[in-house]
Amino acid sequence: MNLFHILSELEKVEPETMAKLNSRRDIFSTLASMGKKAALAAAPIAIGSAFNKALAGTKDVFDVFNYALLLEYLEEDFYAQALAKAGLIPTGAPTSAIQLIKKHETAHVTLLKGALGAKANPRPKGFDFGPAFDTYANFLAYAQSLEDTGVRAYKGKAGEIKEAGNPNNYLTVALQIHSVEARHASHIRAMRRANGVMQANWITNAEANGAVAAVYGAGKPATTFPSEANVMQAGVDLTTLGYTKEQVSEAFDEGLDQETVVGIAGPFIMS
């Protein structure tokens, strides 16, 4: 098998594809890590996968950030609408907390737009949150749904950002947003508790407690993105170490895939 020959042929057929690869060396370093024998046997598959990875490096990270930007547009608008409705959120600590959260979502929008530059997608025409602002209880339930979704969504994309080569330290930035969403989620859950919903600041099993149930369910594939009730980590059932399934489920927040997240958030977006 002549790998150089295959690459030459590919260059003729797919000049754009080849231009996106930094060098042939990228392909061979991938193959080299497989060992010579395995590499020869699996060469066609390995080359295809190496191309996909190299292409992902030039493309996907912007898609990921635009996806994050869409979620941040949505969260920002949600809190802006809530704060604009007189009498919805009690004055004092609750209003201050929502103002702080809104400030962070606006900062995330600005940050992501700056990182994307000309590639940034525009803000959707509007967002319709239905009955979310009818009552304070509704508002909190929606807020919890959005924040817990945000935590799962960022987590679900960490691997893709890493595999894209982590340009400009984007992975760290995404993680720094991710943990802020978790702080928000924690506080919103406490606000709901203060408003009569018995639950902790963290997620027990896949209990939604009146928030959107799909936020706590399994994603696709469920093996990578199980429901929040999951007790298996790295192949180990952690309940076998002497803990209850509630405790184990609380100790780990699960990630969620883009399709499932868009299925949850999509209905709010007016196109």
Binding site: A93, L175, A182, F252
Partner: protein, 242 residues
């Protein structure tokens, strides 16, 4: 003798999760909290351990590559788990029923994280897991709510910043996802503890940059410098992720 000792340590990691990182110094406190037979067996092991290692005097090297990152997380989780185990064993004055309930939950989460990392390292790289560390909580007044919450905030915020900074060091995407699953729980804890100190401080400007909306991310060396005063052994993390 050393073989017996070793199996005793293994048992500490699995069969007695809550007592695993608590070494001899704080052992008396835990028997006082009715930990029971496993802990009594452990104390025998710790006495033997004195023949080989002087607790608190050694250097612990976290190692390199992903195993180094896992050991780094394992070290921090040991510290957090030991701290909350102490909070539960000797509750501060005036602790409320809700605080007892949620502090107990946090103590379990941290113990689960600790035991998970031990198990993950033992599976991925047998023999590479660091030892149980000896906590030094002499600066902390466990009878004082203010003292406990202040240090809890320190540990939780440090944990969040440590995971945020370590993400880029992880080579295996599966471990990266798992680190992500844990860091958001630490952030939930941090927000809860901060709100206990002053409601509304869950993500205040001192921890979340008001301009960028970003949480903190810290490098390994800076995290270990901050954690070192609470651990007897000297922790070396110069090759973590390399």
């Amino acid at each position: 003798m050393s073989k017996v000792l070793h199996s005793g340590e293994e048992e500490a990691g699995f069969a007695a999760p809550l007592t695993a990182p608590i070494q001899r110094r704080s052992f008396m406190m835990y028997t006082g909290a009715a930990v029971g037979i496993t802990a009594l067996a452990l104390s025998g092991c710790d006495d033997d351990e004195d023949n080989n290692v002087t607790p608190g005097a050694g250097t612990v090297d976290l190692g390199s590559g992903d195993v180094g990152v896992l050991n780094y997380a394992y070290a921090l989780e040991q510290l957090e788990a030991a701290f909350y185990a102490q909070v539960i064993a000797t509750p501060y004055a005036g602790i409320s029923a809700d605080e007892t309930k949620y502090m107990t939950a946090i103590a379990k989460h941290e113990a689960i994280h600790r035991d998970f990392f031990k198990k993950a390292i033992d599976t991925a790289a047998p023999g590479k897991a660091i030892q149980g560390l000896t906590p030094d909580f002499s600066k902390i007044d466990f009878t004082s709510r203010t003292s406990v919450l202040t240090y809890a905030k320190t540990f939780e915020d440090l944990g969040v910043a440590a995971y945020n900074g370590a993400g880029k060091l992880i080579k295996d995407t599966n471990y990266l996802l798992i680190a992500g699953k844990i860091v958001s729980v630490e952030a939930r804890h941090a927000a809860y503890i901060r709100d206990l100190i002053n409601n509304g401080d869950f993500a205040s400007d001192d921890i979340v940059d008001p301009t960028t909306g970003l949480d903190k991310a810290m490098e390994v060396a800076d995290v270990l410098k901050a954690a070192q005063p609470f651990v007897k052994e000297t922790i070396s993390g110069s090759n973590v992720g390399k």
